[in-house]
């Protein structure tokens, strides 16, 4: 069979961009297909330099419009009048939820996917994470360990440009970092006070995909400390498909990009037991199109890639493509997260900072490391947040009117520290994706999400709340509030799993190279492949796994296997 392309990559977000880059740089002719609109770097960041007073709703956005068309996205605090164009229209892109499921699925359907809107936090996983399923028996054992992934982490961190401080922690391995951003005065004090009492607890600056040193060869400047990244950054100072992987892939001359094209099915040939290409719907015209390739990479975002596999059922594979095991769609996860503490910090009222640092702090996991010391949970949690000085919006909670009130709000407010917990989500068979009964406006069956956090996640958040309060108090803070109930599923925006990796084709969908056990030329390298969730932000790991899978695919092609 004569193929039109060497490889098709479905999706142009964080992982699709990496697949396109790696495969084209290896000399393959690649088609990247994206369901959303084209957004051109620098040219199309419409709101980037706008001031609030230049927008009709001053940056808050038209709540009436949001209620009608962005019923889910509006619940995301990163969604506002500046960024609304970078999030999906829920009305046009509906999904269903099971009877007892409250799941907020935060999505960006556009060239660049969520690489444009992400929080840029980049953390390596460790063997506490890759060994977790084996250790406590939840889920299936990861067929890889940290040592195998370490060189791929090096590779992606170097290209992405991750700033961070080396801390020598086994549970959060150091990486190939650009110079760290600085802690502010309260964070520095809290770091020291926590370390004095708990040597194993480390507060460090968030490791973030914002450049502290320019990458001139790639046309990327260092960060300007605006912290408006999700509007799009013309400086190219944070990692996105547009700023990084797409230019690299384009430079090879081997990349074709199609946008406004919703992939509906992956074609499978039972005779060769290979996938042969994909079919899509042009969202602007409704026309159906297809292309063929020797190799297919699914990078549509965890749930969308699973959706595609489910929707690509055929006579030969009636339960979904590559679903001989029957586990496709199951064991989905999302970190249980909540606001664990807000504390006020007196004693620093004569200090402030200038500039908007686009990252916070992290306190890495300290539970269930060498000993299982969690009460009712066997995995980890970690905090992210930071210290800040409140601004004029504190006036919304204050009594007062008139000149004195106005003068008050002209001043910088008191210091407070905020810690948000991300607790590991256990892989459970009952948390799963299926095809729903209704279809989307283009006639494609909707995805249906069934999800609930379990007792372990609740126990972890209860401990996190308690420990946050203890640490803040010990560090000299006054606790104002804290919560231990998780937000709805999806709140952490770390949804993953559904096509898990494993040793055994009977109990997992993908092999140790992110390739379908049953289909030798089909790779799924986004969050769908995850067998456990750790408690770190996952995208860096997706990137490392994607780069590794690309190298494997290229090797297989050269060896004539694909």
């Amino acid at each position: 069979m004569q193929h039109q392309f060497d490889a098709i990559v479905v999706g142009s977000g964080i992982t699709g961009g990496w697949a396109a880059k790696e495969l084209t740089e290896a000399g393959l002719k690649v088609l990247m297909i994206e369901r959303g609109r084209k957004i051109e770097h620098q040219v199309d960041y419409d709101t980037e330099t706008k001031a609030p007073w230049e927008l009709p709703f001053r940056g808050l956005g038209d709540a009436a419009l949001y209620a009608r068309e962005y019923a889910v996205q509006r619940k995301n605090r990163h969604f506002n009048e500046f960024t609304e164009g970078h999030f999906v229209n829920d009305k046009d892109n509906p999904y269903e939820t099971g009877a007892d499921t409250d799941f907020t699925w935060f999505r960006s359907y556009q060239l660049g996917g969520r690489s444009l809107t992400w929080g840029r936090q980049c953390y390596r996983w460790s063997d506490y994470d890759f060994g977790a399923n084996k250790r406590d028996g939840h889920g299936t054992d990861w067929p890889i360990r940290y040592a195998e992934l370490a060189p791929w982490y090096d590779k992606v961190e170097e290209f992405v440009g991750v700033s961070g401080a080396k801390e020598g922690l086994a549970q959060l391995p150091d990486g190939h970092f650009q110079p760290p951003m600085a802690l502010n005065v309260v964070e520095q004090a809290v770091r020291e006070r926590i370390a004095a009492q708990w040597p194993e607890r480390c507060l460090t600056v968030g490791r973030t995909a914002n450049l502290t040193e320019a990458k001139e060869a790639e046309g990327r400047s260092h960060c300007q400390y605006r912290s408006i990244c999700a509007r799009g950054c013309s400086y190219g100072a944070y990692f996105s498909t547009q700023s990084s992987t797409l230019p690299a892939a384009t430079k090879t001359g081997l990349l074709t990009v199609v946008t406004d094209a919703q992939v509906e099915k992956v074609d499978y040939d039972p005779k060769t037991r290979r996938v042969t290409g994909v079919r899509w719907i042009e969202t602007k015209t409704g026309a159906r199109k297809a292309a063929t390739a020797r190799l297919v990479f699914l990078n549509a975002g965890a749930f969308n890639s699973v959706h595609l596999l489910l929707n690509s059922a055929s006579e030969a594979m009636p339960n979904g493509l590559a679903n001989g095991s029957g586990v496709l769609g199951t064991h989905i996860m999302d970190h249980a997260n909540t606001l664990s503490v807000i504390a006020e910090f007196p004693g620093f009222s004569d200090r402030t900072s200038f500039g908007n640092r686009p990252t916070g702090i992290v306190i890495p996991r300290f539970r269930n490391l060498e000993t299982l010391d969690g009460q009712g949970f066997t995995r980890g949690y970690s905090y992210q947040g930071g210290a800040l000085q409140s601004g004029w919006s504190r006036g919304k909670r204050m009594a007062g009117t008139g000149a004195g009130f106005k003068d008050d709000l002209q001043q910088v407010g008191p210091w407070r520290m905020v810690l948000v917990t991300f607790a590991e989500s256990l892989p459970r068979a009952s948390n799963r994706l299926t095809l729903g009964k209704a279809t989307d406006p283009r006639g494609v069956p909707q995805l249906e999400v069934h999800f609930a956090h379990g007792a372990e996640e609740h126990a972890a958040l209860a401990d996190a709340k308690e420990q946050a309060a203890v640490m803040m108090t010990a560090a000299g803070g006054k606790v104002l509030m804290g919560m231990d109930r998780p937000g709805p599923g999806g709140s952490a925006i770390h949804e993953m799993g559904g096509a898990r990796m494993g040793w055994d084709p009977q109990t997992s969908v993908l092999d140790r190279f992110s390739r379908a056990h049953q289909v030798a030329n089909l790779y799924v390298t986004d969050g769908a492949q995850m067998s456990s969730s750790a408690c770190q932000n996952p995208s860096l790991t997706y990137m490392a796994l994607t780069a590794r899978a690309c190298a494997h695919a290229v090797e297989q092609m050269r060896a004539g296997v694909i």
């Binding site: 009709p56 001053r58 400390y225 908007n356 409140s390 601004g391 006036g395 919304k396 106005k406």
Partner: protein, 207 residues
């Protein structure tokens, strides 16, 4: 009597021109007729905004069009202002609801202040108006933890503050605005008179 839509919009545009702010900032676009305020309510919204944030070294909220922003924001449901509301106050007084079941904050404000003003809030002397509003505010924000059932005034006041501190005057004259700081100074002295940055997005968000 409701303001004629065209008159309302052109009034907003004139105000904008007079203050040198872009028309887009105060355009009352896409407002259903039922949401248009009466002429009196429009004056009231402006006056109340000005009382919350009066002219000091910089113009006050009423002067920079926050009254109209408030009307637009309430019509479009900003800060949850069009969520279903209860038909009576905790004290058992009837509350004016819109047809969609949300509280008509503007009508509530008008009635509440008129009642305080013995029937005509706007007719009272300026000092008296300020005192009446201060009293309403003090009841809505009692000392101690915030009331479980907040007064509608809390939401209205919040939108007035948003309107003011996101206006060019409030954001860049009263406070300071810098889109491109270019650097991060992690620890600098905070001296008396240091004006806050409206462009410190984290501060605004977590206030």
């Amino acid at each position: 009597m409701a303001v004629d839509r065209r008159e309302f919009l052109s009034g907003a545009a004139l105000l904008a021109l007079a203050l040198g702010i872009p028309v887009a900032a105060v355009r009352l676009s896409d407002m259903a007729d039922a949401d248009l305020p009466t002429a009196r309510q429009r004056v009231l919204a402006r006056e109340v905004s000005q009382l919350v944030i009066p002219r000091t070294g910089t113009p006050g909220a009423g002067e920079v069009g926050v009254g109209d922003f408030l009307i637009l924001a309430l019509a479009h449901g900003l800060d949850g202002s069009r969520e279903p509301a209860s038909a009576s106050s905790p004290a058992g007084e009837p509350m004016p609801l819109r047809p969609d079941g949300s509280l008509d904050h503007l009508l509530w404000l008008e009635r509440t202040l008129d009642r305080a003003g013995g029937g005509d809030f706007l007719g009272a002397a300026p000092q008296a108006r300020a005192a009446m509003l201060a009293k309403l505010d003090a009841t809505a924000f009692p000392p101690g933890p915030p009331p479980a059932d907040p007064s509608p005034w809390a939401l209205v006041k919040g939108l007035i503050l948003t309107g003011y501190y996101t206006s060019q005057t409030g954001a860049a004259q009263e406070l300071r605005y810098e889109l491109v700081p270019g650097r991060f100074d992690n620890d600098i002295p905070l001296t008396p008179g240091y004006r806050a940055w409206s462009s410190d997005w984290t501060a605004v968000e977590f206030g």
